[in-house]
């Protein structure tokens, strides 16, 4: 929730010369996207004002991945998915440099992300996700999921070792994760990875481009419809049903993850299947994928939790919220629970 990089007027003016979007009339830092610096950019051209978002990519995004992300957004937008459309400079390039960082301008999307989730959000969300998957089908470039199952064991080992030698390099004392939680996660991880679908030849478990981070603050609604999907910087090529599993985790529990909302899940699945019905293999494997998704967010939150100084103004998200979800999914023996 912060603007990290300040841009001088000279840098900004010089940067905008590279675009044919008119002259700058307003410029405000936007408090969203923990990973990058975002600014509202308003320009006037031929007497008409337009809004854009200027994003500076901070160090958590690998610059080598940016052409893939921007290409994916452009592809989706041209396929009719309402997502930020990267704006090309006069030289035809959307990815440029500003204040020493990779930067891009995209279109501004209207709508409001839901602070409280209601049942009526879930059907349109499911539809929008399925449309994204369909539209992504014709985007050929592949980006492996860098936070997929291969990353989970190393993450857990890092977390377990955090109070160890690494702690000496920090200027604060990191919190220890309890041995019980570490043991529980080790067991759960063994169980998940033992049956996780491997190989790319499983035709009944369709792979494709997924958003991989479709949390409520990345989905704008307007007039009860999805008006925009944002933040494609975790998008990657993976199992399509895994993206649904992420949404089931993100949208269909109370905040602390102790209560699953079956109505929300049914609506989400119904919305998704109204556009792209699941294969029977996808239906069957959904509890495992949901447990994997819960594991992914529990681990990255835990990592961020222990590597963030306690006094920092950044909101540390409680990893327990996802450990509760993980326990729920591991106890599910039938996908019917999710409404499929």
């Amino acid at each position: 929730m912060a603007v990290y990089t300040e841009i001088t007027d000279e840098e900004l003016s010089e940067f905008l010369v590279g675009y044919d979007i008119g002259h700058l009339t307003a410029f405000r830092g936007i408090a969203e996207g923990v990973e990058n610096s975002n600014f509202l950019l308003r320009t006037e051209k031929d007497g008409r004002e337009s809004d854009y978002i200027l994003t500076l990519y901070e160090k958590r995004v690998n610059p080598d991945d940016l052409p893939w992300f921007l290409g994916f957004m452009r592809h989706l937008a041209t396929q009719g998915v309402s997502c930020p459309l990267p704006v090309c400079g006069r030289d035809g390039e959307a990815l440029r440099t500003l204040a020493g960082r990779p930067a891009a301008i995209t279109t501004f999307l209207s709508g409001v992300w839901p602070r409280h989730i209601h049942s009526e959000h879930c059907h349109p969300l499911g539809e929008a996700l399925a449309r994204l998957h369909q539209a992504g089908d014709s985007y050929a470039p592949v980006r492996p999921n860098s936070l997929g199952p291969d990353a989970w064991r190393p993450l857990l080992e890092d977390i377990n070792g955090f109070g160890g030698p690494a702690a000496g390099k920090l200027d604060y004392i990191p919190e220890r994760v309890s041995d019980e939680i570490i043991s529980e996660l080790c067991c759960a991880l063994d169980r998940i990875l033992a049956t996780w679908p491997g190989g790319h030849n499983q035709v009944d478990l369709p792979r494709g481009q997924i958003h991989a981070d479709m949390f409520p603050d990345n989905v704008f609604f307007r007039d009860h419809q999805v008006s925009g999907l944002i933040d494609f910087y975790f998008a990657c090529t993976d199992l399509l049903a895994y993206d649904v599993a992420i949404c089931l985790n993100a949208w269909c529990f109370n905040d602390d993850g102790t209560k699953f909302n079956e109505t929300f899940a049914r609506q989400l699945i119904a919305g998704y299947e109204s556009v792209r019905p699941f294969s029977s293999a996808e239906r069957k494997i959904l509890p495992l994928l949901c447990a994997g998704a819960a594991m992914r967010f529990a681990l990255t939150r835990m990592y961020d939790w222990i590597s963030t100084p306690p006094g920092a103004m950044v909101t540390r998200k409680n990893p327990m919220d996802y450990i509760h979800r993980l326990r729920f999914h591991l106890a599910v023996d039938n996908s019917g629970v999710y409404g499929v």
Copy 2:
């Protein structure tokens, strides 16, 4: 630089029912204003979109002062000063409640605040400040300056005592300000307060409504003109020339305060005097007022510096930047240095 308060959709919808500004089409957190939570609010009414800023007042603003601030902004806006105009609800009230906090909607101002100050910013800035002073003349309510000279000695005593008993109540070890700096500030403060103009009967030192925080990030420019003044939450009734002294400190030094820029000062003063010429008493007292303004920002920055945990993500501003300025002003023996 942070959104502090999250608002639920229900709270926001219910809040907006109280206004006749149309229905919500976009809502984004704005990363500006350390003191309050600000949101860009876009609404559509009769097929036309309009932008507003929604501000939630956080605990550093005294709610009792809000009617004065909002009244002042409304007064200035109706007098032609380009500042946020508070929007009244259907009941005629601009100050309302949202998410348990005082809240107001104001108009959105275009323009960009200068990240690097150039000579050409300073003349229009001076003009805008003088116009603000003139327009404020007909705003009768009085708000004493809570960070004026009466507040400086208690602040310095708090800073000096910070490593003492108060430290035990904090969960971190506050930095100590060196004894040399404390001594230097005590001497400077004695000297400043000994000759600070007192009483309200000095007709040759005009008093009125001042902005009192006109730093570059509170002044928007567009097409080389001032297009907006924002952040009136330090505004108060005080010596008009003291507001100029604040601007001389904020705009006419390099960042760390070690180098005074006489050209910028000349432009600022020329701009100001093109609208409202100084009295001879104001001219004469300017070095003292500049020293007082430097003292005020040195003290509040020092207080914030030592009372902010080192790991916090909030930008701590170095108080030395203003101690350097203070030393400069105390060595000035002639207002000609400032270009008057």
